[in-house]
């Protein structure tokens, strides 16, 4: 083992960690027996401190395809494989991920632990809803098979469980068939939050929908958005090439992403968009636009950034969103890339984030006042009956978490049963008061 400073994608907070990378199941079991406390870590693409721990088990060596049935689209792979590697193999054969987050640089295990969602949440739910089974090493070192019907309590705690129930060794997922590697995209320009939410509702049968939202716009333009709707194309071929990103090798001076620059960017983005435009981007361009810019997280400079994503209930959601957007716009700290989406139904996973309503995701440069703003937003979101996404959180308070995620006690009971208490923990779980 060696030590390294680890952090999430936001580069905040940082922690010195001992790094283990067991190359076999028995090596992993030895490690679980020896270490007082540990946590699996994949690509480190959660934003905050979800994958920060004093001992992290890197799953990068555990990245093999185990089985792929090209007829049924059933795929079994080890947890450290990235969605990107999966796509390179399955897309040319006519299959795609049932749910994908906005980056392909996440591991299968990470996607399950965060119970990630994508632009099709209103139709397809979260990633965990497409997991058929998994094998997990629990706190005793035993390796269990879990599925909705076998050790179901552990299954529903592990999907969205932030790695706190054990170490996922492999998983079987059901892919979806596609006819081409292209997306038919329609763009709608909506000049305020009310129009945006209405457009989501009107287009709720679109397979994919997501909106870029200008968090700095105020007054009658508050919440102006560019909504992108997508369907898998039926013609255009299977050519699929995920380009390797151009990387930003160094941290840029933090002053570069200042308010005028963000305002300019948002202004340009809004005016570049054409209402009702039809395009056919590739899967890569539609789902992973930021993957083309390697380490865009370095744009925020050395102090790093906070990503904040909340969901509020659909009822009263539009007015509540206006309240929150006003607060964000007034704080003047809003990011240059904010995303708005309407979620579908919640699922049975104990700590899963999405439920039916509106969700907003945005970045803040790390400053004292940004942290204060987030705490203030947290309080309002709680009062609105909403919650904050754990995969992005770095600063939430314990009390906030416990009111946002009332199932936390049930979650702890499952962890107790499978000897995860104390054994699997992260900086985030300690902060949120999980044992």
């Amino acid at each position: 083992m060696f030590t390294r400073v680890v952090s999430g994608w936001g580069n905040y907070p940082k922690q010195e960690a001992r790094i283990a990378s067991p190359s076999s199941c028995s090596a992993l079991q030895d490690l679980i027996a020896q270490e007082e406390s540990l946590l699996a870590r994949g690509m480190g693409r959660s934003y905050g401190d979800s994958a920060n721990a004093s001992v992290v088990v890197e799953t990068s060596c555990n990245d093999h395809f185990l089985r792929f049935d090209e007829m049924s689209g059933r795929l079994t792979a080890e947890s450290g494989i990235t969605l990107r590697e999966i796509l390179k193999v399955v897309v040319p054969k006519g299959w795609f991920l049932p749910v994908t987050p906005g980056t392909s640089y996440v591991t299968l295990g990470g996607a399950i632990a965060g119970d990630v969602h994508g632009k099709n949440h209103h139709i397809s739910g979260t990633f965990g809803e497409h997991v058929k089974s998994m094998t997990i090493a629990i706190g005793t070192g035993d390796i269990l098979t879990v599925s909705p019907s076998e050790n179901g309590d552990l299954f529903y705690s592990t999907c969205g469980g932030m790695g706190l129930t054990g170490i996922i060794i492999d998983a079987t997922i059901q892919l979806i068939p596609i006819q081409t590697a292209l997306i038919d995209q329609r763009t709608l320009k909506l000049d305020c939050i009310e129009a945006a939410c209405e457009a989501f509702q009107e287009n709720s049968n679109a397979t994919y929908s997501v909106a870029w939202i200008d968090c700095l716009a105020r007054g009658k333009h508050l919440g102006r958005s560019v909504l992108m709707l997508g369907e898998h194309s039926r013609s255009g071929g299977m050519y699929f090439d995920l380009k390797e990103p151009k990387t930003i090798p160094f941290n840029t001076p933090p002053s570069l992403l200042n308010k005028p620059a963000i305002k300019c960017f948002n202004h340009a983005y809004w005016h570049k968009a054409v209402h009702n435009q039809l395009q056919t981007p590739s899967l890569g361009a539609f789902f992973y636009p930021l993957d083309a810019v390697g380490s865009w997280n370095k744009l925020y400079g050395k102090p790093g950034f906070l990503q904040y994503q909340f969901v509020i209930p659909k009822e009263g959601g539009v007015a509540n969103m206006r309240t929150l957007l006003t607060l964000i716009a007034e704080s003047g700290q809003g990011s240059f890339l904010a995303v708005l989406k309407q979620f579908g139904q919640a699922n049975a996973n104990l700590l899963s984030f999405p439920f039916e309503g509106y969700t907003l995701a945005l970045d803040f440069k790390v400053t004292e006042s940004a942290i204060k703003t987030l705490h203030r937003l947290d309080e309002i979101v709680v009062r609105m009956g909403g919650r904050v996404y754990l995969s992005k959180d770095a600063v939430m308070r314990e009390s906030t978490f416990k009111s946002m995620y009332p199932e936390w006690e049930a979650f702890e009971a499952v962890r107790e049963k499978y000897r995860a208490i104390g054994k699997f923990s992260s900086a985030q779980s300690s902060r949120l008061g999980l044992a």
Binding site: M1, F2, T3, R4, S21, S23, S24, C61, H64, F65, L66, R67, F68, K88, V89
Partner: protein, 245 residues
Amino acid sequence: MKKILIFGATSAIAEQCARIWAARGESLYLVARNDDRLKTIASDIEIRGASRVLSCRMDVNDMDQHAKLIDEAVAALGGIDVVLIAHGTLADQNSCERSVEETMMEIQTNALSSISLLTLTANHLETKRQGTIAIISSVAGDRGRASNYIYGAAKAMVTAFTSGLRQRLYKSDVAVVTIKPGFVDTPMTTGFQKGLMWVKPETVASKIVTAIDKRKAEVYIPKFWWVIMLVIKIIPNTIFQRLKL
């Protein structure tokens, strides 16, 4: 479609090479000591697109198995275009220093077994008058240093041997590629503090595959090691013996 034989197929670098070849649809014959891991890798490589994947468990130190295995690989693949010899161990220098047995074992694994495989595959390809043999040596073989001279000595033997072999096979149109990686972040180097000089096995692998495609003679990976080793090689012994390297 190329036919590729890999020794040490479960090593991190070799596995990444195999993934690149799999994506290109080549046929592979994988040889390694750890059977479980070999099977996992073989099915992974097949799913990643290899035309055919065959595998066989062998400990490279069972040298009397070498000839038979190579014959089997040739028969199974229907010939061989590329051989990659990638097995190796990195024993603890300090405990080797105190034990002749451990030192000899290190030389056996990292040099003698390779010499046997090089000889047999070279003789086969020479008769076919085509093909490429690539072997992973190391920058450590360029000059013995106190911290790592037993591993270094074994790799020096590999480097010198392949240099001669390359000359011999030139007229038969068989290329011999000597690969000299620097610090690579693999399970072999678990326990080392990793810094800026370290590279990922996938980076090394893509450069190895390119070197094999271009039938290069000797490659340092990353390239800057050529400069570092040049400096290390020209330091006079009067000074070198006082250095801690």
